[in-house]
Amino acid sequence: MKRSIIKLDNVWKIYRMGHVEVNALQGLNLDIKEGEFVALMGPSGSGKSTAVNMIGCLDVPTKGKVFLEQHDISKLSESELAQIRGRKIGFIFQQFNLVPTLAAIENVMLPMIFQGIPEEARLKKAKELLELVELEDRMRHRPSELSGGQQQRVAIARSLANNPEVILADEPTGNLDSKTGANVLDFLDKLHSEEKKTIIMVTHDANLAKAAERTEFLKDGKIVRTSNNRRSG
C-alpha cells in the first residue's frame, strides 16, 4: 500500500455571502497516494476550485481535516501554509500566471528565493529545469515574448523548482490550442512516469482526464464517482 500524500477527510467549506451561506464543499473525501496521477473533473459550481484550494493548501477548511503527508494542516497560519506550499506543492495554473516583469529564468527561480536557496544554486537548478522543458534558448525572455505553450512550460519548470512531491495543475491546457495542450500534457505525463511526481490535474475535458490513472468526479461539493483508467494497476 502506497503512502497517502494528500488526504481530505470530510472537508466542508462554507462561504458566507451576505446573509446566504454557500456550501462549496460538503464533506469531501479524497485520498491521493504518492506517485499517483489523478484527474479531478466536475461541472462549474461543483466545488472544483474550492477543492483545488484545499488540496493546494491555499485555504483551510471550515470543517474537516486536510492532511499533507499525514500532517494536519487545517489549523496552520497563512505564513506556515506558504512555506509548506513552497516546498511540497508545485502549481500550474490555467492562465500560466508568470510574473510579467521577470524573465523566464527569474520566474523559475522565484519559488527558490522564497525558500532562501542561495543564488548560485537556484540559478543552476533553474537552468536545468528550463532545459527539461526544452526552453534553454528562451531563458532571458519575458513572458510577453513567449507563446502560450512556452509560458506554460516555464510554469511547469517553476512548479518543479523546489522539487515538490505534488504537482497541482489547474486546467493546465485550458488556454492552449489542442496541439500545444497535448505537448504540455506530455510533459506532465513525463513528470509522472520519469520523475515519479504525484500529479493532480483539474480538468473539464474527459479526453485529457484519460491521461490520468484515476479520475474523480466532483458534484455538489463531494466526490460522486471514481473511475480507474487504462493505465492504472
Partner: protein, 403 residues
C-alpha cells in the same frame, strides 16, 4: 534585503515608467531643496568656523549701541577715554579703537558712498589679524601715509566698485581730498568689507576733524589665561560704572568674536531651518504620492501577489518586496534630488560670489549626501509600508481569483 527584491522592484518601476517618474519627481523636488539649502547652511557654518579660527578666539569688540553698521550713526561711539580706561582693565592684552564713517568717494568722475576706516598704524597688524585679512597687492599703510589709502578687494576689478579698475598709484578723492592707492586687501566675501577704504588714524582725523577720538569700533584681545567671555562681562560692568550708565541702558555693548559669529550663525541657521521645514512639507506631499502609487500598484498586481503566495511567499516576503520598491522610488528621487541640488547650489554659489558674497559658498560633505540618500529611501519605505502591509495580508485564494 535581497538582490532579487531590488531587481524585481526596479523592473516594476521600469514597467510603469510614467507613473514611477511622476512619483520620483515629487520626492526629487523636496530632496533638491533640502540638499541645496543644507549645503549652503553647512558652507556658511564652515566659513564662520574658519573665520573664528583665523581671527582668533581671544578677540572681543566693543561697539556703540546704534542702528546699522558702525560709522553710519553719529551718536554712537566710544570715546578715547573709554578706550584708555578699558585698556587698563585686567585681562586685556591689546586694544585698538577704529574710526568708521561713510564717505563720498570719487574716482574718474564716478561717485559712490562707501565705508572708510581709520586705524592707528602701529596696530594695523592687530587689525588685520582680527579681521583675518592681508594685503595681497602693494603694501599696508605706514604712519607717514597721510595722503595714502589702502583698498578693499573689489576695487581691483572693473564694474565692481567703479567702472574702471583702480591700480596702485591711482588717485582717489574722499570728500574732495586726494589719496593715492598703495595696497589692496584680500577678499572677505561680502560686498561691504570688500569695498572698504583704509586710512591711517591721522588722515582720518584730518578728513573728519569732528570725529576725533570718537571710535565706531573697538577691537581687543584677551590675555592667554583669561576667558574672553568672562573678560567681556568684566569690561561691560566696569565700563558701565565708568560711564555712569544704568544696567540695561548702556550705550555700548561688548561681545567676543566667537559670540558674534555664533549669533550670526544662529540667525543663518534659523532662516535655513525654516526653509528646510518648508521643503519638508513638500516631502510630506511626496510621501502621500508614493503611498498612492503603491496602493494603485498593489491593486494592479493583486493576482501577481496571489501567485507569489501560492508558490511560497510568506506575508513578510510580500511586505519586504513592496517596502523595498517604495524605498527605491524614494532613493532614486533622492539620488536625482542630490544631483539637481548640487547643480543648483553650485550655480547659486557662483552667482553669490559674482555679486560679492563669496562667503555664501555651499559645502558638500559626505554625510550630507549619504544622509539625503538614506532619508529619501526611508521616506519612500515608510510611505510604502501601509500599502505593502495590505498586500501582504491578501488571502492567496482571493488574490489569485482577482482579474
Amino acid at each position: 534585503m535581497n538582490i532579487y527584491e531590488i531587481k524585481y522592484a526596479f523592473q516594476n518601476l521600469r514597467k510603469r515608467k510614467l507613473r514611477s517618474g511622476l512619483t520620483i519627481l515629487s520626492i526629487l523636488i523636496g530632496i533638491t531643496a533640502i540638499f541645496a539649502l543644507l549645503s549652503f547652511g553647512i558652507g556658511i557654518q564652515r566659513y564662520v568656523d574658519t573665520l573664528a579660527d583665523e581671527a582668533g578666539r581671544d578677540k572681543l569688540f566693543i561697539q556703540g549701541k546704534g542702528i546699522g553698521a558702525p560709522g553710519t550713526d553719529e551718536n554712537f561711539f566710544l570715546a578715547k577715554e573709554d578706550v584708555d580706561f578699558v585698556s587698563k582693565i585686567k585681562g586685556v592684552n591689546e586694544i585698538l579703537g577704529m574710526y568708521f564713517k561713510v564717505v563720498e568717494v570719487k574716482f574718474n568722475d564716478q561717485k559712490r558712498f562707501l565705508f572708510v576706516s581709520g586705524t592707528d598704524t602701529s596696530k594695523i597688524g592687530f587689525m588685520e589679524e582680527s579681521f583675518s585679512i592681508k594685503v595681497i597687492k602693494g603694501r599696508k599703510l605706514k604712519e607717514v601715509d597721510s595722503d595714502k589709502v589702502a583698498l578693499g578687494y573689489n576695487f581691483q576689478f572693473p564694474d565692481k566698485v567703479f567702472r574702471k579698475t583702480v591700480r596702485l598709484g591711482d588717485k582717489i578723492e574722499l570728500n574732495g581730498n586726494r589719496y593715492e592707492a598703495v595696497g589692496f586687501y584680500e577678499e572677505v566675501g561680502n560686498p561691504q568689507d570688500d569695498t572698504n577704504l583704509y586710512l591711517t588714524d591721522k588722515s582720518f582725523e584730518a578728513l573728519f576733524p569732528d570725529s576725533k577720538d570718537k571710535f565706531g569700533f573697538v577691537i581687543l584681545s584677551s590675555q592667554k589665561e583669561v576667558k574672553p567671555s568672562e573678560l567681556a562681562e568684566r569690561i561691560e560692568e566696569k565700563l558701565r560704572k565708568f560711564k555712569n550708565e544704568e544696567k540695561g541702558k548702556e550705550t555700548f555693548f561688548v561681545q567676543t568674536f566667537e559670540d558674534a559669529l555664533a549669533t550670526f550663525t544662529t540667525i543663518i541657521n534659523v532662516i535655513n531651518g525654516m526653509l528646510v521645514l518648508i521643503a519638508l512639507v513638500s516631502l510630506v506631499v511626496a510621501f502621500v504620492n508614493i503611498m498612492n502609487t503603491m496602493y494603485t500598484s498593489i491593486i494592479e498586481r493583486t493576482k501577481e501577489i496571489g501567485v507569489m503566495k501560492a508558490i511560497g511567499a510568506k506575508n513578510s516576503d510580500i511586505l519586504i518586496i513592496f517596502v523595498v520598491e517604495a524605498g527605491l522610488i524614494g532613493l532614486i528621487g533622492g539620488l536625482l534630488g542630490v544631483l539637481l541640488g548640487y547643480i543648483i547650489s553650485s550655480i547659486g554659489g557662483n552667482i553669490a560670489a559674482a555679486s560679492g558674497f563669496a562667503l555664501l559658498k555651499p559645502a558638500y560633505p559626505l554625510f550630507l549626501i549619504v544622509g539625503c540618500l538614506i532619508f529619501s529611501f526611508l521616506v519612500g519605505a515608510a510611505a510604502g509600508y501601509l500599502p505593502a502591509r495590505r498586500a501582504s495580508k491578501l488571502k492567496p485564494v482571493d488574490a489569485l481569483r482577482y482579474e
